[in-house]
């Protein structure tokens, strides 16, 4: 139904602008229907300019900036109708340390509505978790799980897991 679509689309646009600003400290975003008369079939163009910059298109953004833009867009949609749980597989890989922290904070803000499973090599993302599982292959080719609960004051021993950062 087209009016419901337009309403949802407006909400997503606002969410996207808000989340993008969280990541970039400001900037301009827009989601533009390539064919406004046929919204349900139209393509969508993404305009995203980090604060102070003027990239002509999102192809000019850096690897990390594109990852943050994609995360902002996915969560802008997620906010409309949060799924009960969400799995993020190494989404933080191209991010520098400050951006990993912002990403981890964003996820924390959604935890009142949903559970999250983050697969990561980054210490910062691990520190944001309530529960930590290590996966190992002590026996070659066979996976095994080690539980390392992170609740409250506990600190896990991470060395045996050879984590990358």
């Amino acid at each position: 139904s087209e009016s419901r679509f337009r309403e949802t689309f407006k909400t997503i646009q606002d969410n996207f602008a808000h989340l993008f600003t969280r990541f970039f400290g400001g900037g301009q975003t827009a989601l533009v229907l390539s064919d406004p008369n046929k919204p349900l079939e139209s393509g969508i163009e993404i305009i995203a300019q980090p604060r102070g910059k003027r990239p002509q298109s999102i192809t000019q953004l850096s690897g990390g900036e594109r990852a943050l833009t994609a995360i902002a867009l996915v969560f802008a949609i997620f906010m409309v109708k949060p799924s009960p749980f969400c799995i993020l597989d190494e989404v933080d890989a191209p991010l520098d340390e400050n951006n990993v922290l912002r990403y981890a904070e964003l996820i924390r803000d959604f935890t009142h509505r949903s559970q999250f499973l983050t697969i990561t090599h980054s210490k910062r993302t691990m520190e944001a978790a309530q529960t930590l599982y290590g996966v190992t292959m002590e026996e070659v080719g066979v996976s095994k799980i080690i539980s390392m609960r992170l609740q409250e004051e506990e600190q896990p021993t991470l060395d045996l897991l050879e984590v990358s950062s």
């Binding site: 419901r4 679509f5 949802t8 689309f9 997503i12 349900l40 139209s42 393509g43 969508i44 993404i46 999102i58 594109r66 990852a67 994609a70 867009l73 996915v74 949609i77 409309v80 109708k81 949060p82 799924s83 009960p84 749980f85 969400c86 799995i87 993020l88 597989d89 190494e90 989404v91 890989a93 924390r108 935890t111 559970q115 999250f116 499973l117 983050t118 697969i119 990561t120 090599h121 691990m126 944001a128 978790a129 309530q130 529960t131 930590l132 599982y133 290590g134 996966v135 190992t136 292959m137 026996e139 070659v140 080719g141 066979v142 996976s143 095994k144 799980i145 897991l161 050879e162 984590v163």
Partner: protein, 165 residues
Amino acid sequence: LQLKRLEIQGFKSFADKTVLEFGPGITAIVGPNGCGKTNILDSIRWVLGEQSSKLLRCDRMENVIFNGSENRKAVGMASVSMTLVNNRGTLPVEYDEITIKRELFRSGESNYYINKTACRLKDITDLFMDTGLGSHVYSIIEQSQVDLILSNKPALRRMLFEEAA
């Protein structure tokens, strides 16, 4: 709806029975390259009814069954079971707790169960229809999807509107 427990056996690198318990908030999964972290994500996709072997990184569905290692023979069956708590009445069933299970044998024979009662694959996918869980789009996010999410192509539009509207 909350993910409570996941049991994996004979699925990809998880030759032995493996149990993960999930709490509220964020659960982080860590470990070296190739140890089995993304395989856990694959097992969740699979038990929710994924039929695309490509999305499971396999040439054929049979390849999700543990196919042996240096010290172990291949096994004959993969099984994954997921237990959820229906704490917000999200699922249209009378149960507080619901366990879905999927088995695949090398013969190609498949079994599906809801709370130990045999059912069809369709019964499982129908169950999760409105929760955002059965879909791929914003409940499973992988680093490799950034370019797809940022493209103008119809894939993004479908994601935006079918999921949230």
